[in-house]
């Protein structure tokens, strides 16, 4: 393990000064991913700034009637919050579908969004990986790629983002609130936070150097039934092969609102508004859900080992939309 210096930031300005003033510095929150990567020397920061003690651990109601979730709120705290459970159940379900109880107790909201891919080749320093070592190639492209992306990938990288929470936040139209080293804040829709790999898979988000996620903003709750459906190889403690976050609002016998997002299929949580739009005003039917799924997956490309994800995603979308359109 590469030696590093450590700083516990008591105030935001300390953290920002630390990250601005030290080359190769990194924030650490729960550390559930970063520490693993440091042990393997995939992450090699020279300086760690512990932001666990910054005052971002509250969940507050916003003037608009939504919620502002501090970036340091733990996954388990967020999942247990009564407002989340009643108004944003898809988020609570997604959180509880992720990792293990111990990890959720440690992992933070901001850190969850910024966790890195679980691609096996990314984790093995002997293997080519454009994300870990730009220009070295992608071992997954023609290798064992069962877990890899079917949407938005490139020949440079076919890794997926492993977060469940982010998929639910995307379907809820959440935004992240950030602050840069100059103290400037901005809001980024969750769907725009992560970048597709293109030719630079090592650049994973829109965040600038030293820019910190301080909160996630949820808009007011939407009418409709919410659910998170995660498909995985075992009943718990496995990353999604495919997941679907869905909200369907059925009024009378027609669909008054429908939105869904996919996880486990791309380098970011995935949403296709055109697929949602065709459902509006339609009656609940397998055929409509199948059409929506087909539109959502129109651009999906398998890489061999992950070909099954395309029919699996289609079937899971149909199942999730059907379940979310049930009454009661």
């Amino acid at each position: 393990m590469k030696p590093f210096t450590y700083q516990r930031a008591g105030e935001l300005r300390d953290a920002m000064a630390g990250v601005a003033g030290t080359p190769n510095a990194k924030f650490i929150s729960g550390g559930t991913n970063l520490l693993d990567l440091m042990k393997l020397e995939i992450e090699r920061p020279a300086h760690l700034i512990d932001i666990n003690h910054l005052p971002f651990n509250g969940i507050e109601e916003t003037a608009e009637g939504g919620l502002r979730i501090g970036a340091q709120v733990r996954n388990s705290t967020l999942a247990a919050d009564s407002r989340i459970r009643s108004n944003y159940p898809v988020l609570a379900q997604a959180l509880l579908a992720g990792a293990s109880a111990q990890i959720r107790n440690k992992a933070s909201t901001g850190g969850n969004l910024l966790q890195r891919t679980r691609c096996y080749y990314f984790y093995d320093r002997n293997m080519p990986c454009n994300k870990r070592k730009p220009g070295s190639g992608c071992a997954a492209l023609h290798g064992f790629n069962r877990m890899h992306a079917v949407l938005g990938s490139s020949d440079a990288c076919i890794a997926v983002h492993p977060s469940d929470m982010a998929v639910a936040m995307l379907v809820l139209d959440a935004s992240v609130e950030t602050m840069d080293t100059e103290g400037v804040t901005r809001q980024i829709p969750v769907g725009d936070l992560h970048r597709l790999p293109g030719s630079t898979p090592d650049v994973e988000t829109q965040l600038k150097l030293g820019e910190m996620i301080t909160a996630v903003i949820l808009p007011p709750g939407q009418p409709g039934r919410q659910l998170y459906r995660k498909v995985r190889d075992r009943a718990s403690y496995a990353f999604a092969l495919v997941s679907v976050a869905a909200i369907v609002h059925v009024a009378g016998d027609t669909i008054a609102g429908a939105r869904f997002a996919l996880g486990g299929v791309a380098a970011k949580p995935w949403r296709v508004p055109e697929a949602e739009a065709i459902l509006l005003g339609e009656k609940v039917s397998t055929e409509m859900f199948e059409r929506a799924a087909d539109i959502a997956l129109a651009n999906a490309v398998g890489r061999g080992g992950n070909d099954f994800k395309i029919p699996l995603a289609k079937r899971t979308i149909q199942q999730a939309l059907a379940a979310a359109s049930q009454r009661g």
Binding site: M1, K2, P3, K39, L40, E41, R118, Y120, Y121, Y123, D124, N126, M127, A139, H142, G143, F144, R146, M147, V231, R232, D233, R234, A235, S236, Y237, A238, F239, L241, V242, V284, S285, T286, F289, E290, F308, P311, L312, R315, T316, Q318, Q319, A322, A323, S325, Q326
Partner: protein, 763 residues
């Protein structure tokens, strides 16, 4: 002492009682000390192993200067400066046993034989410093093209001289090919079983400390005698200069039967530095450096008449094996004993690949072999249209079908019938894919279990001090199975004392030699030795009691001696045992006991433990996710020494079966020769949520030909056939037969019906 002395029914018989683990409190309170946690005199140094980044070739240049200059680094060892060790030697040892004791040199040549093979060791003041320095060692390789993919090299398959444990490579009875060609009913099918890894919770770890020319090695070992010989042969020192301590072991599953790089390198570095050195493999390193089960392609052919009577059985297994050290898992050997059929073939073939050697992974042979064979039996039952249990009953042999010797005990049919009754087997629909609850398909499956029973040469020492404190010592290990507990039960029963009065000491090579933990023989072997030591001690106590003046039994008849309820009784007189010893042998008494390896009884009888597994599975109609909802195993394994620890053993095996059926697979990338998913995030084993409702039933049984207890080995039996029962349930649920294990959802999904009606979602 004879090993056929029956257990006396006098006093309290602790054997067969569900006694709590005597070491349980130590473990749950963190007081059980494992290898890496031991402390020694003087500051310990920490080693970190750097593995090769190629799978076949040689190290052409290695620069350690920068690593050596890093703070805290004490030594960097490579093939250039490592102490001389004997050459590894041929791929097959002349004698079967020598595989356990041969030298296993590390860092002794520039050759790289497998991916992540150790190419350097860094020893430093801290683990972190050692690992950090290892990162900056610069290595150039001459990379050679290796062979990695079994299926691409089948033309190079060869017949080994023998399988693991010395079984014949092939068996041929009658004329299978003729019977198969003429048969109206036949199954001709090929199954593949994947690379798998043991992954015990405790990694392979060693602390080595020298004192003069003697080394004490704290390590995680299943068989101390083999480890001791392997270390002595590699270091080229006398075995009596190697002191091994392995008191607690965090799981072995066969991956701790031979020495690995952690042990050899810790011993070498500690001698070199004159300072204790500890080394643990990381979880990732264990995938390349601590054994695996090899990938196999298994052809199973069955022919039968229309009533389901088998006319022929052929089980042909082709397995990957390491090029530098052969390991032929005895995958088809069980098929020689399981069902009757006049015409039979079992054969083992190997293909050399450039990986590390395969090792003994829980239930070697049966675990992969029964996955294939017991599914093929299910295919046959489905084809003929008879119940899978009926099919097996129709082919129940009267004697061992290939050895033509009687079974010592065999209760397979009773296991199946009892299981069927308890599990509700009659509710099974023979036509697959017909039971549906909401969006789930429900299926039931079953499979048989068989596992040979062994007895290995073992000895034990027992002593009673002047205060009546009893101590039992042997170099046996408890790898989590409950050995401490059952040995206390055995000694307690023999001596008429409570188990809490017996101090069982294991895991020290200074103690008498045993067969260790492996092959499910530990309880019978070590237990027999302890039993015989107790009997010898009782004779000594009785003798002294009659011979010492002042003894209440002075001059009495020794033939009528009983030890019961903490007392010794001779004739009508009784005396508290501790008081008696205090009077007649204040210096204490000790005795040895031993048992020979199974001989005549093993030759004259076919000795196996049996079982029947029953599984109910739910398959998601949309996503093909498969989750076991109920599982029952009915076991006929002789006398059960402790139903509580025995149940845990069987349940552990059942969970292994679920894992093998549904998720366990180490993926070998044929481009690089490495196991891609080499950590526990991506090498999936079942979690609690995958094993909701497991039940185990033991049939009343005692095998008088097995050992003094009438018991049989159970450590591996639970795995055997368990995965096949899961796969057969999946077929029953869906009508999809997957022949490439593990049965993951991507393989089942194409066989599921398309989604038709959203109305179904409301059902």
């Amino acid at each position: 002492m004879s090993n056929s002395t029956p257990i006396a029914d006098t006093g309290k018989n602790w054997i067969g009682q569900p006694v709590d683990r005597v070491d349980g409190a130590l473990k749950v309170t963190g007081q059980a000390v494992y290898a890496y946690e031991h402390r020694t005199d003087g500051p310990v140094a920490y080693g970190y192993i750097l593995g090769a980044g190629i799978a076949r070739g040689r190290v052409s240049a290695i620069d350690t200067a920068q690593a050596e200059a890093m703070p805290g680094v004490l030594r960097v060892m490579t093939y250039k400066n490592a102490p001389t060790q004997p050459a590894f030697g041929p791929a097959v040892t002349p004698a079967v046993r020598e595989v356990f004791t041969r030298p296993r040199p590390v860092l002794s040549t520039d050759r790289v034989r497998y991916y992540d093979e150790p190419v350097a060791l860094v020893v430093a003041e801290t683990f972190e410093a050692a690992r950090g320095a290892a990162r900056v060692i610069a290595i150039d390789y001459e990379d050679e093209r290796g062979a990695y993919d079994l299926s691409r090299h089948l033309a190079d398959a060869y017949a080994p001289q023998r399988t693991n444990a010395g079984f014949q490579t092939d068996s041929l009875v009658g004329d299978f090919e003729a019977a198969f060609a003429d048969s109206a009913v036949k199954v001709d099918t090929i199954y593949t079983t994947p690379y798998e890894h043991h992954n015990p919770m405790e990694p392979h770890a060693t602390l080595a400390a020298w004192s003069g020319d003697e080394v004490t090695i704290y390590t995680s070992a299943q068989t101390l005698a083999n480890f001791r010989a392997g270390i002595a042969n590699t270091l080229q020192i006398p075995p009596d200069k190697v002191h091994l301590v392995s008191r607690f072991i965090g799981g072995g599953f066969g991956s701790k039967l031979i020495v690995h790089a952690d042990t050899i390198l810790a011993a070498l570095a500690a001698r070199d530095l004159q300072r204790p050195v500890k080394i643990a493999l990381t979880r990732q390193q264990m995938f390349a450096n601590a054994g695996h089960r090899a990938k196999m392609i298994q052809s199973v052919r069955l022919s039968a008449n229309r009533e389901g009577k088998l006319t022929g059985i052929a089980h042909d297994v082709c397995s990957a094996t390491s090029r530098f050290e052969e390991f032929c898992e005895q995958t088809a050997v069980f098929a020689r004993s399981l069902y009757a059929a006049p015409n039979r073939i079992t054969r083992h073939r190997l293909v050399s690949v450039d990986t590390n050697r395969g090792e003994w992974m829980r239930s070697p042979g049966e675990a992969p072999g029964m996955l294939a064979f017991e599914c093929a039996m299910d295919e046959l039952a489905d084809q003929i249209g008879i119940d899978p249990i009926q099919l097996r009953i129709r082919n129940e042999p009267e004697v061992d079908p290939e050895r033509n010797v009687p079974f010592s005990t065999r209760n397979l049919v009773a296991c199946m019938q009892e299981g069927a009754r308890r599990f509700g087997w009659e509710q099974r629909q023979a036509k697959p894919g017909t039971v549906r609850q909401g969006r789930k398909l429900i299926g039931l499956g079953m499979a048989a279990a068989i596992r040979p029973n062994y007895l290995g040469a073992s000895a034990a020492r027992i002593s009673i001090d002047g205060n009546g404190q009893v101590k039992v010592q042997l170099d046996m290990t408890d790898i989590g199975t409950g050995t401490y507990t059952i040995l206390a039960q055995i000694a307690a029963t023999s001596l008429g004392l409570p188990p809490s009065a017996i101090d069982v000491q294991l895991g020290d090579s200074h103690f008498p030699r045993t067969a260790g933990s492996g092959g499910s023989w530990g309880a019978a072997s070590a237990g027999s030795a302890v039993h015989n030591a107790c009997e010898a001690l009782k004779q000594k106590i009785a003798k002294v009691s009659q011979e010492v003046r002042g003894s209440p039994f002075y001059g009495s008849n020794p033939d009528r001696t009983e030890f019961t309820n903490g007392e010794i009784r001779i004739g009508d007189r009784s005396e508290n045992l501790a008081n008696l010893i205090n009077r007649v042998a204040p210096q204490g008494l000790d005795a040895q006991g031993a048992v020979e390896a199974a001989g005549e009884n093993y030759r004259n009888y076919s000795q196996h433990a049996y079982g029947a597994h029953f599984v109910e599975i739910e398959v998601d109609l949309d996503t093909a996710e498969m989750r076991v909802s109920r599982m029952l195993s009915v076991i006929g394994a002789g006398r059960i020494l402790n139903p509580k620890t025995a149940r845990s053993q069987i349940i552990g095996g059942m969970v292994w079966g679920i894992g093998a059926a549904l998720m366990e697979e180490s993926v070998l990338d044929p481009r690089y020769g490495h196991f891609v998913n080499h950590d526990l995030a991506e090498y999936h084993v079942p979690v609690n949520a995958d094993v909701p409702d497991l039940d185990v039933v033991f049939l009343e049984e005692s095998d008088g030909n097995a050992n003094v207890f009438g018991s049989k080995g159970i450590g591996e039996l639970g795995v055997c056939g368990a995965g096949a029962a899961v796969a057969n349930a999946i077929f029953n649920a869906t009508g999809v037969r997957v022949r490439e294990f593990p049965v993951t959802l991507d393989k089942v999904l194409p066989g599921l019906p398309v989604q038709t009606s959203s109305g179904a979602n409301r059902s």
